[in-house]
Amino acid sequence: MSAVTTPARNASGGMNVKTLNRIVIYGLLALFALFYLMPLFVMLVTSFKTMDEIQNGNMLALPKAPTFDPWLKAWGETCVGLTCAGIKGYFWNSIKMVVPAVLISTMLGALNGYVLTKWRFRGATLVFGLMLFACFIPFQSVLLPMATILGSLGRFGVTLQNATGTSFGLGNPTVNLVFVHVVYGIGFTTLFFRNYYEAFPTELVKAAQVDGASFFQIFRRIMLPNSMPIFVVTVIYQFTNIWNDFLFASAYAGTGDSMPMTVALNNVVNTSTGVVEYNVNMAAAMIAALPTLLVYVLAGRYFVRGLMAGAVKG
């Protein structure tokens, strides 16, 4: 009797265990999805609520009367320090800083990667190693000398301004930040392009050389047309990093009208005068997060590849 029932019980029990396993797995996955989504959800619903509803309602409840006012106020009216003209100006500051910094550092990275893989010379690995290590240093160890140098360049800019009528961008905080981000970004961009070009067939380059193509012709005609994926990865990586930077921004453009978005947001949130308008704060945070989130939604695959390339070499 037992011999007959046991296998049958086992079989049905096995089925149950399997289903149970699936339920547990899906349950856990859903739970963690909630954990990751919660802060964004709260931020989003809060940004559409009135102050009244925030103070009396539930944090997780959907807005009863959704209002777009907090967003408009954050964009055009809220106070950053003593100026109350919204965060729009700082948003554009960030754009003005990010675009040139990304383009320049990516271009330099492409050229460096090309040289380091296709025009190898003695000591190339050492050069690359030194540039690579620069990616990992805590920026605190260069923060102060850079501040000193930027300070003297600014003073030189004033002298130039008086003498010639233009400072050539010296002393302009946005130009300074572009410079800083290029300097401390080329390590990563070089790494990306080097690893990508390493896998690119050297025979093609050799053949072009035999045909008399010059250094730049090979770069323009052979390397660049085949570099689209790594360009996307690098641009996204640099864009996210530079847009999100706070340390350099607060050290070199921490006050005044030229603050980038991250610093301005931190000031909005930590302004202690008057009533704290949480809905406006959350709208400002959403505005600051939107560009990188948008890039993530549109090109998530490349975003992940960039992170991986920065983490796992080769």
Binding site: L116, T125, F133, P145, T262
Partner: protein
Amino acid sequence: MSTVATSQIKLTPEHARPRASVRSRLQDALPKIVLAPSFAITIVFVYGFILWTIYLSFTNSKTFPSYVLTGSRAYQRLWGWTFDTDPPSSWYTSITNMGIFGFLYIAICLALGLFLAILLDQKIRGEGVLRPIYLYPMALSFIVTGVAWKWFLDPGLGLEQTLHQWGWTSFHFDWIKNKDFVIYTVVIAGVWQASGFIMAMFLAGLRGIDGEIMKAAQIDGATTFQLYRRIVIPLLRPIFLSAFIVLAHLAIKSYDLVVALTSGGPGGSAWLPSNFMYEYTFKRNEMAVGSASAVIMLMTIVAIIVPYLYSELREKPR
């Protein structure tokens, strides 16, 4: 005779046209010329600046840099402070926080990342939806993360208030305002931001494992748990190493998160060494002490990164 003539013919063009020779030499040097600016920038603005910071840490610079060497006074001050000084030394608080934050952040991110990756690797329907959800916080800045969690953890507005409204009135969660616990809120927000990325690293590693090995182990009667413990996790060792490097590096650099989430915490109780460095250098006019703390941060990173980079670059000698 004829051989001499030909050799002369061969030789003459190069000697007769020195311009071509300069041009071709320039062509040969061009790659190095292209690389040179980047390399020079790195040498000056990274290595030169590091030396500069090290130099400053041995002076008595206060508000402005001073270049008179005064020995290791700044380091003695850093390490001479203790918990017994009143108020407790910010440096001791910072490095204790670094220990707590670093350990928990790395350990939880690794554990959670691996756990989620294994769950997601069970042929899950909807993986394409879940993966981006776990990973998106990595696209946000620490400032945005800090603002979001500051709100969520605020006792009067966030989680505590919500649970009170739902009837759980005894629930109490004010870590963010408590000087002994505020550093753990930084861990929560940090883990929230980075664990999804660690999950993606592990998932990529899991997908790279040869299915044959798994099948063979299953045929040998290994349970799922044994399979992961004895075979899969040992195979993921390189990923553990990379993830550790990424996390250690992120942990030591964390500065923005503390600022945005806690504004430094009550009495600077949430400071990490990076916050200490910034405050002492730029706000408290103790430039030498700030520089000394930066040097210590750098040394910690060097101890972790240099052996790693060395082995990575040596593996592919070409």
